[in-house]
Amino acid sequence: MRAVIATVLIIMVLMLWWLFIPQPAEPPKANSVVDMLGGEADAGFERAEQPRTFRFPQDHGAHPGFRSEWWYFTGNLETAQMRRFGFQLVFFRNALKPGEVDGESAWRSKQIWMAHFALTDVQSGRFHAYERFSRGAIGLAGAQPEPFAVWLDDWSVRQQDGQWILHAAEKGLSLTLSLVPLRQPVLQGDAGLSQKSAAAGNASYYYSIPRIRAEGEVMVGDQTHRVTGGVWLDREWSTSALGEDQAGWDWFSIQLEDGSDLMFYQLRGKDGRADPHSSGSLLLPDGELIRLGAEDVKLQPLGYWDSPKGGRYPVHWRLQIPSQGLDLEVAPVLKNQELDLLVRYWEGAMDISGTHAGKAVRGQGYLELAGYSED
């Protein structure tokens, strides 16, 4: 999982910081950043302390009682001529304070929204990434369960005629997909309760829809491509942060051609070692869900990419789950899939090859690398 609570917290903090300095932003000073956010806000928020009953479609909507929440769409797309694209469209919600708003104005809101949109164009070797911010008020940004919608400005995923229509566009770039989930939501962790660090409540509620059929159009420049492919949705909401000694994570989502879906996140400590709270799941074609702990998965970096902005990302991996007979090589379709945004991180489309229970298997997936950039 990449959706570690602290991420968004840090993102939000940095975002606050960014507002106070004219662009281009100076590297933020950690102390001021923490000061600015203040420490008071926790008390009124709900916390993920024990397993809960998930209900759909209600849980596709927002949970404003928790501090942060996200809707994470990643996918691999292909034209009939086998031209590859990867995309990421993610909506983050963060509450500045718990509770209802006061006052008459429809603009007042405690909810801040941020969205990232990235497109990997393998053929041209180009990676595009954009971000947007808004308040969660007056219809500028928000999420609702029925009909399902999550949006920020014109970037959105909206339910229409039983399908989800995903749309995002920037100058010279546009993506429109209709999505049909092929699986039921998978509850990660302990029936959806995903523990991030040792302290009680340092956890999130986490579910995924690992296989969603996508069909639509990618427009790059003045060219429009018809595409089909598979999308992964990660949903998570929480209030409290990573432990102080945690530095970042490596998150894998893998869809294998044999019908298995694998999610695993490896939390890293500041000492560079894998954290015992690393966890994941393997959903087998027959619907059996296998929980994975830190000790079940062996991860070994095979190759690195050095960002021109600083930081060395392990973008090429070998992932082994001996108990399941799984041995996979996870290779990026493009090495530079770094989102050079307010918060810099690497997230990109991957090619998967290897063996599962002795049989050769291929697949596609997404990898997120956080906590490697130096700023």
Binding site: S32, G103, E104, S134, D153
Partner: protein, 844 residues
């Protein structure tokens, strides 16, 4: 050359008073020009900076009618994906502790590409400022300087007032703007758009949407326009600033013209001094020619003297000007706030351009003024003792050609007035007129002397005749001094008659238009009338008051289209108020039915003048339902604004604009109802709801006249300065004259004149000059007044007025000239009478 310079310096050194007065004259002239220029420039710069601060990087804006934009338009635009670089803004003014503060409501996430307002917060101790701004009602940011001035600390609650209503605010943080923005941002409050909507009582509305469309072509702009509802308009960001500056244009031109007048009088002075000095040294010059000095040497010498005096005067003038500007800028700001919009000018901006302009005018003008005396010097024949009478004969011979050139200039002035309709041409004509008149002065002086000699002879005996004769015989001196004084006095006559006429017309207009008994409006700072409104509860209370025969309700708004701002007032008029409107070109019976029932408006005289409109024609206005035509039912007299106003019945306004607010109300009481009791009652009933200005019409009339007088305060100050310069002029001319005549006077003493008689002679002479100046000033003053009233005022503001010439203004002018002359003659007279004849004779 050395010799020449030594001679020159020695001469200048021996006449320190003359030099000092010349320098002072130039200094005063330059000071006034520089001060006015600085004050104008500072106001303009303050305006530009404040526009820049609030416009930021925006290239375009979406604006709408008086009510503003529906906030949902912004959401629609954002969700369309067409305008990612867009920021909603709501702004208005609030009062705190007697200060007017400008509130800018922003959406922080949309902001960063537009303005760097949030970048001026200090790093430390501003914990979670943004969180507070967005989530806490009333949270505002204020400049550190203001916060300290108000003694407010972060986290402290305080009570702002908007439109007379209390609003609770809390200081979320203090920003420290960079030096160049300090003055502009000092009175700025920054808040989240939610808070700003609540503080300004405009929930649901935006003032505008800023856009960044750096290279949008017409097609792209049209595509955006298609997304807009009727009534919303896409305009370049600079348009509003241009439109606002247009309003004050006439005002600043008028100030500049007044200041130039002061300089012209100053230039007369330098001309007078130097041509006198040349005459006084005619013998010396002759000797220098013999010693080998060429004509061009002498020309250069006098020119250099002029340059020296001009430069010294200019330098002193610059210093004085800067000092004077400090005061003047307050007056200018006050006027702009009274008449146009809220503007705070706290700093004088000393621009190199303003200083250079002053230097060029001072030094250049001095050189120009000195060309004639310098040529005179160059013409000095070698050795030949040119006696006084010869010079004067020459001067008299010049009298006629001068007079003819004067006539030509007067004709030119008339042509200028007829040929061009521009304000600048009006002022140019004014100056040509003055110049032409001054060229005619020697002729008039000569004529008046001929008539005056017998009269003074009869009154004072032979000293009287001698006094008059002295004036005529020194025409080359006295002519200039009299011209300078009469121009100065004429200026005061002209301006005085104009102001008096204006004031009388305004007073009459106030009398007729303010016939209601009680006026009610929210208590708000001046210049913010467009954004204030009576609380609906207050309106309800007023409407149900017993004892009220009729209520006149009004809602003034500003409508922007293109780069013009139009003032429109929507009115609900009771029948009682019809008589208060004076229509200029149609009988009221014809106007009112149209106004009451048709799609028609009435326009003020200024508006009609500026737009070349007449009753029966029609005009178009940007309404909330797009551009709409309105018939012009009539043109009414009005002195409210110089750029004019359109009035419309309330019901028609509400058909076209989604705005229901009422800004103010006038009550007409039933006969026998006591005004004071009614006011007390009103205070009791509505005082809780809203802080209000409740005034009787009488008080309001007085306040209006006070505002009028305040507006002309600058004019009065400038007038006094012009007289000051002229006074210095006449003083120096008389000193020169009397000193020059010291030998003649010594002879008189020697043949038996007592000091007292001599004193009388000199006084009679200066008195006579003053009298002539005063007499000449009156016709010129009346002509100036006519130009000011019928040309300058009309072209600036489109106002017409009844000319009022009171005997007292003319009498005062005469007295002023006489007094100035006599005062200026005191010292020379005293000095002459004190000097022992032998010494005076020896000195020569």
């Amino acid at each position: 050359m050395n010799l020449l310079w030594r001679a020159s310096l020695r001469y200048l050194g021996r006449h320190p008073w003359q030099m000092a007065l010349s320098i002072l004259g130039i200094a005063l002239g330059v000071a006034v020009v520089v001060a006015v220029d600085l004050a104008n420039e500072s106001a303009r710069r303050a305006f530009d900076l404040s526009m820049q601060t609030v416009t930021g990087q925006a290239t375009h804006q979406i604006v709408a009618g008086p009510k503003g934009l529906d906030e949902n338009l912004y959401v629609k635009l954002r969700r369309s994906g067409r305008l990612p670089a867009s920021a909603p803004i709501i702004e208005g003014h609030l009062a705190y502790a007697g200060q007017t503060l400008r509130l800018l409501g922003i959406a922080p996430f949309a902001e960063s590409r537009f303005r760097d307002l949030l970048s001026h917060l200090p790093d430390e101790a501003e914990e979670g400022v943004l969180r507070q701004l967005m989530t806490q009602p009333g949270a505002v940011l204020m400049s550190l300087e203001r916060a300290q001035g108000f003694d407010l600390s972060v986290g402290q609650s305080f009570e702002l007032r908007h439109s007379g209503q209390k609003r609770q605010a809390v200081l979320a943080g203090r920003f420290e703007p960079p030096a160049e923005q300090k003055a502009v941002m000092r009175d700025l409050l920054v808040a989240d758009i939610s808070t700003a909507q609540e503080l300004l009582g405009r929930v649901g509305w935006l003032s505008r949407i800023d856009l960044i469309l750096p290279d949008a072509d017409a097609a792209e702009l049209d595509a955006i326009r298609e997304l807009l509802p009727p009534g919303a308009r896409l305009i370049p960001a600079a348009a509003r600033g241009t439109a606002m500056q247009k309003m004050t244009h006439a005002f600043s031109i008028n100030l500049t013209a007044m200041s130039l007048l002061a300089l012209v009088v100053g230039l007369f002075l330098i001309y007078n001094t130097l041509s006198f000095s040349v005459l006084q040294r005619r013998e010396l010059m002759g000797r220098l020619r013999v010693l080998g000095a060429t004509r061009s040497d002498l020309f250069r010498l006098v020119l250099s003297e002029g340059l020296l005096i001009g430069t010294l005067g200019t330098l002193l003038g610059l210093l004085l000007g800067i000092l004077l500007a400090q005061e003047l800028v307050q007056l200018v700001t006050q006027t702009i706030n009274d008449l146009y919009f809220v503007l705070t000018v706290r700093e004088l901006s000393l621009t190199p351009a303003g200083i250079i302009k002053g230097v060029l005018l001072g030094v250049g003008g001095s050189l120009l003024a000195v060309v004639v005396p310098a040529s005179e010097a160059a013409l000095s024949p070698p050795r030949r003792v040119q006696d006084r009478s010869r010079v004067e004969t020459g001067a008299r011979r010049l009298m006629q050609p001068l007079a003819w050139s004067g006539v030509v200039l007067l004709i030119l002035a008339a042509l200028l007035l007829l040929m061009s309709k521009s304000l600048a041409a009006g002022f140019a004509a004014l100056f040509v007129l003055i110049l032409g008149f001054s060229l005619l002065t020697p002729l008039w002086v000569s004529l008046l002397c001929r008539c005056g000699a017998p009269l003074f002879g009869a009154l004072f005996g032979s000293p009287g005749r001698m006094a008059v004769g002295g004036v005529q015989h020194s025409l080359s001196r006295t002519g200039v001094a009299i011209a300078a004084l009469s121009i100065a006095v004429a200026t005061t006559v002209g301006v005085g008659v104009m102001v008096e006429s204006f004031r009388t017309s305004v007073q009459q207009w106030l009398e007729s238009s303010l016939q209601a008994d009680i006026f009610i409006a929210p208590d708000a700072p001046s210049g913010t009338g467009y954004e204030t409104a009576l609380n609906p509860a207050v309106v309800q209370i007023i409407e149900s008051l017993p004892g009220v025969a009729g209520i006149r309700q009004s809602r003034p708004v500003e409508i922007q289209s293109g780069d013009e701002i139009t003032r429109l007032t929507a009115l609900r008029l009771p029948k009682e108020s019809y008589a208060g409107m004076k229509f200029l070109d149609r009988p009221p019976e014809m106007v009112w039915p149209l106004f009451d029932r048709e799609q028609a408006v009435i326009i003020s005289e200024s508006y009609a003048y500026h737009h070349g409109l007449h009753a029966g024609e029609s005009l178009e206005l940007e309404t909330d339902q797009g551009r709409q035509p309105f018939k012009i039912a009539g043109v009414f007299r009005d002195y409210e604004t110089g750029q004019g106003v359109i009035k419309m019945r309330m019901s028609l306004y509400r058909d076209y604009w989604a705005d229901r607010s009422i800004h103010s109300a006038w009550l007409y009481l039933e006969p026998g109802v006591d005004i004071d009791l009614m006011m007390e009652r009103l205070y009791r009933l509505v005082g809780e709801q809203q802080a209000l200005h409740i005034r009787t019409s009488r008080i309001l009339r007085e306040a209006s006249i006070k505002t009028f007088d305040r507006t002309f305060a600058i004019t009065h100050v400038l007038r006094l300065l012009v007289i000051g310069v002229a006074f210095v002029g006449i003083l120096s001319a008389l000193m020169a004259l009397q000193l020059e005549r010291s030998r003649e006077l010594a002879v008189l003493r020697a043949i038996g004149f007592t000091p007292r008689q001599l004193w009388g002679l000199v006084t009679a002479q200066t008195g006579f000059m003053g009298l002539i100046s005063g007499l000449l000033a009156i016709p010129l003053g009346l002509v100036l007044a006519s130009v000011l009233i019928f040309v300058v005022n009309r072209r600036s503001f489109g106002w017409s007025m009844d000319v009022v010439v009171s005997g007292s203004v003319l009498f005062e002018a005469l007295l002023l000239a006489l007094f100035a002359a006599l005062l200026a003659g005191l010292y020379p007279a005293w000095r002459m009478s004190q000097t022992p004849p032998a010494q005076a004779l020896r000195e020569e």
